[in-house]
């Protein structure tokens, strides 16, 4: 398999604190890569750089042959809308919108009609075993359910890469397992690659391989599997 997303020598500092130093990482289509490491090690910064949310100070990030670091903000936004999906730890669903509207949101941002978008959102909610949350607001569903809704939202655009930052961080073991199982299955079915930032080994165990970030440096533990 060839590289879908590749970071080469990227570095990023917040103020004078380096968050990432000369990091290399390759993500191939369809694989699940776990990014582990202690808090503050730069895991999230790595994810943000890979996803084109943050522009690294040095180095390049190429996605599908295109250099993210030289793209305009609008182009990167469009890329994130179309090709990437995101799951975060918490606070990511718009509290005023119902769950199905939340899932439909990325489609609608991409210009899809409301009816069609919500129909697809419903399909994904069903697939993630969260169909009963559809008409309710995020504040009215359980944490596990909310997180499955978030996963549905990440997958609804059929992205080629899903970025998940501590997706189970706020969940108990059972719900965490369920979210990971569904995320893993869905990603495998759609052929999406997953970049999974976590500090939980049991969550990382859902990956195909792992890298460890320590003090802003990446250790690729296994090389190519």
């Amino acid at each position: 398999m060839s590289a879908l997303l590749r970071a080469e020598g990227i570095g990023k500092a917040y103020g004078r604190t380096p968050a990432l130093v000369d990091a290399d990482l390759t993500v191939r289509a369809g694989e699940v890569v776990a990014v582990m490491g202690p808090s503050g090690s730069g895991k999230s910064t790595l994810l943000h750089c890979l996803a084109g949310i943050v522009r690294p100070d040095t180095g390049t990030v190429t996605y599908d042959g295109r250099d993210l670091t030289t793209m305009s903000d609008a182009a990167r936004s469009a890329l994130r809308r179309g090709d990437f999906g995101f799951v975060f730890q918490f606070g990511q669903l718009v509290p005023e919108l119902t769950c199905v509207e939340n899932v439909a949101l990325p489609l609608r941002l991409g210009g899809e009609r409301r009816r069609a978008a919500e129909r697809r959102a419903h399909e994904w909610l069903e697939r993630l075993e969260a169909a009963d949350a559809a008409g309710r607001r995020p504040g009215e569903v359980s944490g596990g359910q909310a997180q499955r809704v978030a996963v549905a939202r990440a997958l609804v655009t059929a992205p080629r890469v899903v970025f998940a930052d501590e997706p189970t961080g706020a969940l108990d073991s059972l719900n965490g397992e369920r979210v990971m199982r569904l995320l893993g299955e869905a990603a495998r079915d759609t052929g999406a690659a997953v970049v999974l930032v976590t500090h939980e080994p049991r969550v990382a165990a859902y990956s195909d391989r792992e890298v460890v970030v320590r003090d802003g440096r990446i250790r690729d533990l296994m090389g190519a599997p």
Binding site: G40, F86, F88, G91, V94, E96, R108, L109
Partner: protein, 773 residues
């Protein structure tokens, strides 16, 4: 109890930078409101101070004037306009050594000298005062003290004019200040305006104070949750919250008093409706100041407790009553209905009256405006609940409003009061203005200045024409001497007095302004007919002004001085003069009659100005002053309107705009607060590729929807209230579209709030918010 309040107060001033920022924001917001309230509370003192000083310098009135003594003096009014600013002037000539000086003047100036107000002194000393200096050819002997002025910006002078005689003076006085007691010449209409204006302008300030007291309320509630965790019960948290609100309000009172103290120093520099005040006059009425000091903290506490009723503060966080029951509409409508019912209780207001039952109108207006404002939360909730679909930004905004419309409604409420009130006031002005704005019959194409002097010398017209024609920018001048003449002999049977007519002496060009003369040579005499209208009908005219008839140039009781109208006098049609009066009577050229024989003739003159010459009017006025300082000079206008009402209208609009801007500030603060609370969510939305514009539009809609609904209410309420008030004074609605400017201001405020919340939005959309660590 006290301990809890103190604890809350301590919270207000401790708690790190964000805590301070919140408190400072509240204190400034409340302080600004308090400043406005204190200024309003000072208005009675300002007016009273002006009134008192105004009366003190009025000439002591008497029917026939004071007898001549060593304490008496001759006076003549010599007020003028300079660049449309009134200059109050009085010429004085003391009869003896003990003539009193006007208030604020230590001693009467010597002959040919004058005392001036500081503002006039400055104006005369400045380059732009050069033309006025020409008009006032007196040496400056000193300044008039504050006691002699109603406001610091007033232009006043008292000049000692030795040339003043019994004949040229307005009268003889013996003192200043009249002691007829307080007699405020305000019309009922003015009172109505003042009452409504007060309600309209001060209610939103209270709304603003209430909103300001809740700045940062959500974070405060969260801190209360932390207190619950360490063992505070619900009642305690309420008391603590009340303490915090109280502390904020008290700081606000302090800040407001400080701001007020600062602002009153600049009182002299601001002029509203020709009124400006000495700082010393800007003192709140004690009772009103005390009311402010009580109402503001009370308002803060009540609002805080009311807001706490809507949330449940649990040890682990703050929950909102999500499934709160829908707002009820009946009591809100009841308020409006009660107000509408109360308004006409006092009966119709006659414009001419000076007193009327004020309480029902004030109370009614207050109730209507309050009721309309309380309708807003219900309206927003009801409308927003029905909204569906739409593009993403619209959906985000609508859903946000569906979940919590209360915050928006509270802030917009102030806009509704201000806008509704402003619309009602504008309607009142519109109606009254159309009363005052009517064609004057003056013809400003023929002349732009009109002059009048009650006692003109026989050769005055020629002199006036010469002086005016020599003045820069004057392209034409006409002048006449006019006196009243009567049929000789006593009244006949059936007559109360002998018929009279007017005799006008002027050169041919001037006479052409008064009658349609077929030809004119010096020595000609004409009879001008006006066929009724302004003048007498032809039959009455024929009793005196008849070719060959004798007329008496003197009044009844005086030895007669007869003059015969030449038999060849031609009868012509009278023509309206530039002031719009149709001339009638005998028109004579100077060779036909010796003008010196006329009894007490009045001089009238007109000047045509070259609009291209700057200050032509001032040059012409100077020329008039050279002939006589007491000559009255008026500007000829096609349309007459009461400038005062225009300026009040503008003032009300400006004040309403200011109030609405104040409300916009609180809208902005709550918007930014809300955005900050959602920084994580915003970052997430950015992560999955939301465009900035999408979020910007949602911010716009979120402000625009409540404001638009508020405007609808305000327009409906304002037009309704306005129409009702007009009905009270028995007037028609002149213009239903007066709400456009106010609605425009509302739209502008939405745009401003949106624009100003964009920079924080952009900042919050940076990915920093995603960092969990």
């Amino acid at each position: 109890m006290i301990r809890d309040l103190l604890l809350g107060a301590r919270f207000a001033v401790t708690g790190g930078r964000p805590g301070w920022a919140r408190t400072v924001l509240t204190a400034l917001g409340v302080g600004f409101g308090v400043t406005l309230l204190l200024v309003a509370a000072s208005v009675p003192s300002i007016l009273e101070g002006r009134d008192t000083r105004h009366q003190a310098r009025d000439l002591t009135s008497g029917e026939s004037g004071a007898p001549r003594s060593d304490r008496s003096f001759l006076y003549a009014d010599a007020s003028t306009l300079f660049h449309d600013r009134p200059v109050r002037g009085l010429l004085l000539r003391p009869d003896g050594a003990h003539a009193p000086a006007p208030p604020g003047v230590a001693a009467l100036p010597g002959p040919g000298r004058m005392v001036v107000s500081p503002a006039l002194d400055r104006l005369l000393a400045s380059p732009e005062g050069a033309l006025l200096k020409e008009r006032l050819p007196y040496g400056i002997a000193g300044r008039i003290g504050d006691a002699g002025l109603v406001g610091p910006a007033e232009l006043v002078y008292y000049a000692h004019r030795a040339a003043l005689t019994d004949a040229t003076a307005d009268g003889r006085g013996a003192g200043f200040g009249h002691n007829v007691g307080v007699d405020r010449p305000s019309s009922a209409f003015l009172l109505l305006l003042i009452v409504v204006a007060c309600v309209v302008l001060l209610l939103p300030v209270l709304v603003f104070v209430a909103t300001a007291a809740r700045f940062g309320g959500e974070q405060r509630d969260r801190r209360l949750a932390a207190l619950r965790l360490v063992g505070a019960d619900i009642a305690m948290t309420r008391r603590i919250a009340a303490g915090e609100a109280l502390a904020g309000a008290l700081l606000g009172l302090l800040a407001g008093t400080g701001l007020f103290a600062l602002a009153r120093r600049f009182a002299g520099r601001v002029t509203v409706w020709d009124v400006n005040a000495f700082p010393a006059d800007v003192v709140p009425v004690p009772a009103l100041a005390a009311l402010v000091a009580v109402v503001v903290p009370l308002c803060a506490v009540v609002v805080t407790l009311a807001a706490l009723r809507a949330v449940v503060i649990e040890p682990l966080g703050v929950a909102r009553h999500t499934a709160s029951r829908p707002r009820r509409v009946w009591w809100r409508l009841l308020l409006v209905a009660a107000g509408l019912a109360l308004l006409p209780v006092g009966g119709p207001v006659a414009l001419a009256e000076t007193t009327w039952e004020m309480a029902p109108v004030a109370g009614g207006a207050l109730l209507v405006l309050t009721g309309v404002t309380t309708l807003l939360p219900w309206l927003i909730e009801t409308v927003v609940r029905r909204l569906r679909g739409g593009p993403v930004p619209w959906q985000l905004a609508v859903r946000r409003l569906q979940l919590s419309s209360g915050t928006a409604a509270r802030a917009v409420g102030g806009i509704v009061v201000a806008a509704a009130g402003a619309i009602a006031l504008q309607m009142l002005f519109g109606a009254v203005q159309s009363d005052f704005m009517r064609p004057t019959n003056m013809d400003s194409a023929r002349a732009q200045l009109s002059m009048r002097l009650d006692r003109g010398q026989p050769d005055a017209p020629r002199e006036v024409v010469r002086e005016l024609s020599a003045a820069r920018g004057v392209t034409g001048a006409a002048a006449t001497l006019e006196a009243s003449v009567r049929r000789p002999g006593p009244p006949r049977a059936g007559e109360d007095f002998a018929p009279t007519t007017s005799l006008t002496v002027a050169d041919c060009p001037s006479l052409r302004e008064l009658g349609r003369l077929p030809s004119c040579r010096d020595g000609d005499v004409f009879i001008a007919r006006s066929h009724g209208g302004d003048g007498p009908d032809d039959a009455y005219l024929a009793r005196t002004a008849r070719p060959g008839a004798l007329v008496d140039l003197r009044d009844e009781g005086e030895p007669p001085l007869l003059w015969r109208v030449p038999a060849d006098a031609r009868t012509v049609e009278g023509r309206p003069d530039p002031m719009g009066w149709t001339a009638f009577g005998i028109l004579a050229t100077p060779a036909a009659i010796d003008a010196g024989r006329l009894g007490a003739p009045a001089l009238t003159a007109w000047a045509r100005l070259d609009p291209a010459v700057p200050d032509a009017e001032e040059h012409a006025r100077n020329a008039a002053a050279r002939i006589s300082p007491t000559m009255r000079v008026d500007t000829v206008r096609n349309m007459e309107r009461d400038e005062r009402f225009t300026s009040v209208g503008r003032g009300v609009f400006a004040a309403a705009t200011l109030t609405m801007a104040l409300v916009a500030v609180s809208l902005l603060v709550s918007m930014v607060e809300q955005l900050r609370d959602r920084r994580r969510l915003l970052s997430t939305l950015v992560a999955f590729g939301t465009r900035r514009s999408t979020l910007a539009w949602s911010v716009l809609w979120q402000t625009a929807v409540p404001v638009a609904l508020g405007m609808v209410l305000a327009v409906a309420g304002g037009l309704g209230l306005g129409a009702l008030l007009l009905a009270l004074i028995g007037k028609q609605v002149a213009d239903w579209w007066v709400f456009w400017p106010v609605a425009g201001v509302g739209a502008g405020l939405v745009a401003a709030v949106t624009l100003l919340s964009l920079p924080p939005l952009w900042r919050l959309m940076r990915p920093d918010g995603l960092r969990t660590e």
